[in-house]
């Protein structure tokens, strides 16, 4: 509907950029006057004349970014069943706690005696994560899951090297794996060998048996898998790898399904990472920051990336410090990892306790199966069995009727529901990967099921409605091809 020249919709934000809004001399902020005697400046040849930067008022800053925020879908405003991403509710208190004076304003290089509280928190979180996964060696240093993976693979290589078994240069990875797994393996100088999934979505054990050999450095298994399935042959698999002399690496990004239900270490996993920003309550921030601790069995702890928090003494006399493990693979980044995220994870675990954590996973699993049960007559399942925390549907039936997984995803946006993860895992055609998480109510799941069923109806009754979706978002579908072909990556004066 057109409601007047130039205006399509009330409050449509004017999309001009900060530089377009800039007016010479305008200011949002002033700094204090200098209170020290004037100091001589360096040689003028070192100094820059001017910087081209925005000049706007404080109101403009607030209004611009406030309006921009409203263009987003988010957990705080929308159901966001994005598979593999664990878009759950993160308690608001955790953000507050992480920002407390005494936590948010301490310098990473302060002497240990001035940051005992901070290091104690890290140590206790290490212990809790070790307990939850059954892998007691923990470094919180990695800054995201991908860095955790990389750290884990470096540890595997260091382990083999120490055993004079350095010719192990292969990482076996299932075809369903997340892209970071092969990317990390290749950074770690490993050759990626793909193991097939069987028709049940499990690792093809026979195929794995063929591939596992004296060149196997590590087998990387996402558990539950990216299909949302728990690998039923896990014990056999870890045995195959161990028998071949390799290590088992678990991608723990999906730990939200396992809390209190099983410990990875008990299954023969040697190394894993955990995405604190998924399972343990850091809001995703539009794409980070994250925290991807790496966890290992006891004898591998000597290789962990530095630093690791340590405790000396007991009771009120105990002191805490950060240290580098004996044969550390080194620092992976500037300081000690994402401390504020560790603080949130610590708060989350403390608040929930063991009972709470277990019910997180139980409810996450029930929610995913509830959606699966509500949709499986309309959408194909990637695997026709109970799932864990997420279910992967396939829009092949819809595709045959002229509507793709992408179309369905876009159409969901019209209902204020964020799209599932599309076209992943790669082994499922027209994949729609749905992870409702434990925090959504049954009513929300019912609504989602109803909408998905309605969309399936529309495939026949009103396909153009789906093809043209989304209809009333700030933009319609965007031309990604041109964006990539002729990249415009920054503002410039017209």
């Amino acid at each position: 509907m057109t409601i007047g020249p130039d205006i399509e919709r009330a409050g449509d934000i004017d999309r001009r950029l900060l530089m377009d809004r800039s007016v010479a001399g305008r200011r949002a902020f002033t700094l204090p006057e200098s209170d020290v005697p004037v100091q001589e400046l360096p040689d003028p040849s070192l100094l820059r004349d001017d910087i081209e930067l925005p000049e706007v008022s404080q109101l403009e800053v607030i209004r611009y970014f406030s309006l921009l925020s409203q263009l987003n879908f988010s957990i705080d405003t929308n159901f966001y069943p994005l598979g593999s991403c664990t878009m759950k509710y993160n308690p608001k208190i955790n953000d507050e706690l992480a920002n407390l004076p005494g936590l948010a304003d301490i310098h990473p290089l302060q002497p240990a005696e001035t940051v005992q509280g901070a290091i104690r928190l890290l140590k206790e979180l290490q212990d809790d994560l070790g307990e939850i996964t059954g892998l007691p060696g923990v470094s919180l240093a990695p800054l995201a899951g991908a860095q955790g993976e990389y750290a884990g693979l470096l540890i595997a290589r260091a382990y083999h090297q120490a055993r004079h078994d350095a010719e192990r240069t292969v990482a076996i990875i299932p075809d369903s794996a997340h892209g970071t797994n092969p990317a990390s393996a290749s950074m770690a100088g490993l050759e990626v060998v793909t193991v097939r999934s069987d028709d049940q979505g499990n690792v093809d054990v026979e195929n794995l048996r063929e591939l596992a050999d004296s060149r196997t450095a590590a087998f990387m298994l996402t558990i539950p898998s990216t299909l949302g399935l728990f690998e039923p042959n896990i014990l056999e698999i870890t045995k195959i790898i161990h028998d071949a002399g390799g290590l088992v690496y678990a991608d723990g990004a999906n730990l939200n399904a396992l809390l209190g239900l099983v410990k990875l270490g008990d299954l023969g996993v040697d190394i894993c990472h955990s995405n604190l920003h998924k399972t343990f309550s850091t809001p995703h921030g539009g794409g980070g920051p994250g925290s991807g601790p790496v966890l290992v069995r006891a004898d591998l702890a000597r290789y962990l990336p530095e630093p690791v928090a340590e405790k000396t003494g007991d009771g009120p006399d105990s002191t805490y410090r950060l240290a580098a493990p004996a044969d550390s693979i080194g620092p992976l980044n500037g300081f000690h990892g994402s401390f504020s995220i560790a603080a949130r994870a610590y708060a989350y675990i403390r608040a929930l306790g063991i009972e709470g954590l277990r019910s997180v996973s139980e409810n996450a699993i029930i929610g995913a199966n509830y959606i699966q049960a509500g949709l499986k007559d309309r959408y194909d399942l990637a695997a026709d069995r109970y799932c864990m925390h997420e279910t992967v549907l396939s829009a092949t039936r819809q595709k045959k009727r002229g509507v793709s997984g992408l179309d369905i995803a876009k159409r969901l946006l019209d209902f204020g529901i964020h799209a599932p993860t599309m076209y992943f895992p790669l082994i499922v055609e027209e994949a729609l990967m749905i992870e409702p998480t434990e925090s959504e109510s049954k009513e929300t799941l019912d609504h989602f099921i109803a909408v998905m069923r309605q969309i399936d109806d529309e495939v026949d009754s009103a396909p153009e409605l789906i093809h043209d979706a989304p209809h009333d978002l700030p933009v319609t579908r965007l031309d990604e091809a041109t964006a990539a072909r002729r990249p415009v990556l920054r503002w410039s004066a017209e």
Binding site: Y64, P111, Q116, A146, E149, V262, P289, P470, E480
Partner: protein, 436 residues
């Protein structure tokens, strides 16, 4: 809901978990109410020495205390930014995307470079990825690193390149020649000791040998010092923390990454591009995704996935708030205060202000190089002992760098230190020094 699923209990759903390992005993404390949790955190925070408890600090060395404007915190409370995911559905994420585009613009403007990505994990990882990118571009394996760099930069690079056939080569900052086969020389400026390096000269040396110039800057310094883009640098990285990000005991921070347009497709990390929708309206999307792991898998330019979008938002709001004049003023204030502190310390018996890297004699900036807001003090005894004495006076002294400079203490002063704070620090140093 179990009924609708058609099972009797949760256990029916998790039948694939080996029964002998199901429901393990976990040794964790019982849960806490929010009120109890808040009390526990108050206790933890109280165990740390922070400005809130009256401490003043002169630590820098890669993480810097700056005043963070209220606008940053205000916008950081918008749930729509905080609780969104990576903008894979651009129609439902124009907020995040437009902010990222602003961020890229600001990083280009500060560094004087042509293009930037939407952020890396932190400064050192950005630096490491820049060096690896130089190796990819030049197809060379030797990476020159200036000997005045923070050890965390080559340290991270080493960990990142362990199995990638990369060799690190130490380069003297005053070199007049460099090896023929370098992929790049990487220059931290201001360097670890706070001094401004001759980026122009070093970049020329690099280019003469077909190598790239990778420059790692402090973004605050760019409020007054010429940006690497002026000197034809190829890749610029930085720790973004000084731009509105809390110290937070080391993270999360954000790495800044900019380069020449020609190298766009070798750039790691998320990149946001401008485009149009089916109705011709402007919109933004993640672009050049074929470089990334979720498409290219083992052949990706980097394994990075979750990045630091929200920290990028902080940086963007910070720079938008300070604006052109504020960024200049901030750099000047830091410079003025640090130079005042250096001059005062230089007057103390037993203390010399010098550039540790050059081993020069005395006086401020005796290496002859200009410095920004950090400088090296040679102390009359081990800095560790002096720092311990300072701590009793609720002063957190500079970083002990006696491993790199004889009795050296790296002192940083920013706009957050008042003259009174500085004077208190100097007076304490005087007393402690005299007592030796």
């Amino acid at each position: 809901m179990l009924d609708a699923i058609g099972v009797g209990s949760l256990d029916d759903l998790i039948g694939d978990i080996p029964p002998e390992h199901r429901h393990p005993r976990l040794n964790l404390a019982p849960g806490l109410s929010e009120q109890e949790l808040a009390a526990e955190f108050a206790a933890i925070a109280a165990e740390n020495a922070s400005p809130a408890r009256g401490y003043i600090s002169f630590l820098g060395a890669g993480a810097y205390r700056h005043y963070i404007p209220s606008t940053v915190r205000s916008i950081l409370q918008r749930g729509e930014f905080v609780t969104a995911y990576t903008p894979y559905q651009p129609e439902a994420a124009q907020g995040t995307l437009q902010v990222g585009f602003e961020f890229q613009t600001i990083i280009c403007q500060l560094t004087g470079m042509e293009v930037a990505n939407a952020g890396m994990y932190d400064g050192p990882t950005a630096f490491a990825e820049a060096c690896l990118m130089a190796a990819r571009i030049t197809r060379r394996t030797r990476i020159g690193v200036l000997s005045t760099a923070d050890a965390r930069l080559p340290g991270t690079l080493m960990a990142y390149s362990k199995y990638q056939d990369i060799e690190l080569v130490d380069i003297d900052p005053d070199a007049t020649e460099i090896p023929d086969d370098l992929a790049c020389i990487s220059i931290q400026s201001p360097n670890f000791f706070g001094e401004i390096e001759d980026v122009e000269h070093l970049t020329k040396l690099a280019h003469e040998k077909g190598a790239l110039s990778v420059v790692h800057v402090n973004p605050t310094a760019l409020g007054m010092f010429r940006p690497p883009g002026d000197f034809d640098a190829d890749i610029v990285t930085a720790e973004g923390q000084p731009l509105g990000v809390p110290l937070a005991f080391g993270g999360p921070y954000v790495g800044l990454f900019a380069c020449k347009r020609a190298h766009i497709r070798q750039m790691p990390g998320r990149i946001i591009g401008k485009t149009t929708d089916t109705r011709g309206r402007v919109g933004y999307v993640l672009t050049l995704q074929t470089r990334e792991q979720h498409i290219r898998r083992e052949r990706a330019t980097s394994n990075i996935c979750t990045s630091t979008q929200l920290i990028g938002l902080m940086v963007t709001v910070f720079v938008a708030t300070l604006g052109k004049q504020g960024m200049k003023d901030l750099a000047q204030l830091c410079y003025q205060k640090a130079h005042y502190a250096a001059a005062e310390i230089g007057r103390l018996a037993g203390f010399e202000v010098e550039s540790a890297s050059s081993g020069g004699s005395s006086g401020s900036g005796s290496s002859g190089k200009a410095y920004f807001h950090e400088f090296v003090v040679r102390c009359p005894g081990p800095p560790a002992a002096i720092n311990a004495a300072l701590l009793k006076r609720k002063i957190i002294g500079g970083l002990d760098i006696s491993d790199r400079s004889d009795n050296g203490m790296l002192v940083c002063v920013t706009e957050t230190s008042s003259k009174a704070d500085i004077d208190r620090f100097v007076a304490a140093l005087g007393v402690i020094g005299a007592a030796r």
